[in-house]
């Protein structure tokens, strides 16, 4: 496996001059302060996300992928560089970047499934109450939760809660949907099912997705583009943009997994590493 699989430097992005990418992350350095030290989470990270991309941030823990997602979400300001959405700089959280968290407690416990999905649509003023209710119904059906429409979150399983969170994000039709390891806390059977459902939803609406994961398998299953980050601090290791024909081909997927593993860790994959 010593043939160069990836070009050593990223090719110039195919873009007409003067147009902005949907999401632009330009030389972003993120730091956070603990009581004892200032930790650099990412160091001059650069990438661009186009409409309809399923863009994956993949890397080992400590590579700053969650921090990057938080920065795109507007929860964290870069110490260097800038993040732009449709050409405008991101300064604070907003409903144009709906977030799906890993934690099951992201749903408001005092609202039913339908009310949870409606709330951001109404609270942000993007949709009227009646329209929000209709949209909520549509997305509840899309994620197969019709029977749980009026249930409260505490009565749902983990997978169902994540479906509600995804429906809530999608129903807003945000510019970009941010997902922070949304399936990491699920059992592996449910995780596989949820990944398939997410792909099904994408086929229907072709939303733009920025997805953080530490699972190579998940990245290859979901992503149309993958950004590999190295750790301490997070730096871009590679950007994989030619993934057509990999997904759905078990042999090529296995090969690709091994290549990604050696790119990330500088050594060949061991059995059952992921």
């Amino acid at each position: 496996m010593d043939a160069p699989v990836f070009p050593s430097s990223a090719p110039a992005t195919p873009r007409a001059q003067g147009t902005d990418p949907l999401l632009g992350v330009n030389d972003v350095t993120l730091c956070y302060t603990t009581t004892e030290q200032i930790v650099t989470a990412t160091w001059r990270v650069q990438f661009e996300v186009e409409a309809g991309d399923r863009f994956i941030l993949l890397g080992p823990s400590g590579c700053g992928k969650s921090s990057l997602l938080k920065a795109v979400g507007g929860y964290m300001a870069p110490t260097e560089g800038q993040i732009t959405l449709k050409g405008r700089q991101i300064s604070k959280p907003g409903p144009d970047r709906m977030m799906v968290f890993q934690e099951f407690d992201q749903l408001l416990p005092w609202k039913t499934v339908k009310q949870n999905i409606m709330f951001p649509m109404v609270a942000s003023g993007k949709y009227g109450r009646a329209e929000a209710a209709d949209r909520a119904d549509v997305y509840i059906d899309k994620v197969n939760l019709s029977r749980a429409r009026d249930s409260f979150p505490h009565t749902l399983s983990g997978g169902m809660k994540q479906r509600v969170a995804i429906a809530r994000g999608m129903a807003m039709e945000p510019d970009i949907l941010l997902m922070d390891e949304p399936f990491a806390a699920l059992d592996s059977l449910t995780r596989g099912q949820m990944q398939d459902e997410l792909m099904g939803l994408w086929e229907e609406t072709k939303f733009t997705l920025l997805f953080v994961t530490h699972s190579i398998t998940e990245a290859l299953k979901i992503g149309s583009r993958i950004l590999l980050l190295s750790a301490h601090p997070g730096r871009v290791r590679a950007e994989l943009n030619e993934l057509d024909g990999v997904r759905g081909d078990p042999v090529r997927t296995k090969e690709m997994e091994a290549q990604i593993y050696s790119l990330l860790f500088g050594q060949d994959i061991h059995e059952d590493a992921e």
């Binding site: 979400g73 507007g74 929860y75 604070k92 959280p93 907003g94 409903p95 970047r97 709906m98 977030m99 968290f101 934690e103 407690d105 992201q106 408001l108 416990p109 005092w110 709330f119 951001p120 609270a123 942000s124 409260f152 979150p153 505490h154 009565t155």
Partner: protein
Amino acid sequence: MRTNFITDIDPNETLDIAARPVPLLQRLYANSALRRLLVVVVLGAAWQIYGTWLNNPLLVPTLTDTMRAFVTDMGSGIIPQKVMISMRILLTGYVLGILVAAILTGLAATSLMGNSLLETLTAMLNPLPAIALLPLALLWFGLGEGSLVFVLLHSVTWVVAMNTHSGFQSVSQTLRMVGHNYGLNPISYVLKILVPAAFPSILSGLKIGWAFAWRTLVAAELVFGASSGKGGLGWYIFENKNELEIANVFAGLLTVIFIGLIIDSLVFRQIETRTLRRWGMQAH
């Protein structure tokens, strides 16, 4: 070597034992109102037996004597009148106390200075018994409702503020991020995310505040009695003790207990069932 085997169960058949009704006794035991009633009945029986055995109505009148005094004074309208007087002052002080607490915690949730203000004030004033402020209140507001409302406000505000504040602080980071993600303004953020998320603490603060208000009111009436002949339940208890109508003293105490039970089961429990239990934020 083990071999495969297959049983002849019909996978589409439901057996009777799949779901059975809960036995009657177990169902009755699961009813919390019934369990509470049982506690009251046992306590009442113990009281009656002890009172009869002691046979000294000046120390402990029997339950039946107390109930007779209670029914008589209820019928003659004395107790209802006292209850009305006490309740009006109580509610005034309670509502004002909650308003002050709401303003303070709202400030504390949105600014660091407000946070320090609330934490310092509660640390200083919460341990101070409301009754200890009564002499000052009498100086400032004179003998009358003003003084009572002042000490009630003091007894309610700090405990409600403290509970609400600690409830706000324990709202999970994820829910906070969700709230900000929706782009809510600070007031909506407090009202639509923090308040419902912190509702268990807020409700327990309201309950404790209600109990503190009652204690303070009855104690204050015992200390400075009635102004302009319009005393409430505390005054009723004090008056009857002076006249050695001990059964009526007990009737007055019982009234306070009854009102406590009624408010607890009609107001607080209803709120709990409709909110916290429904939302899965409190075990049954």
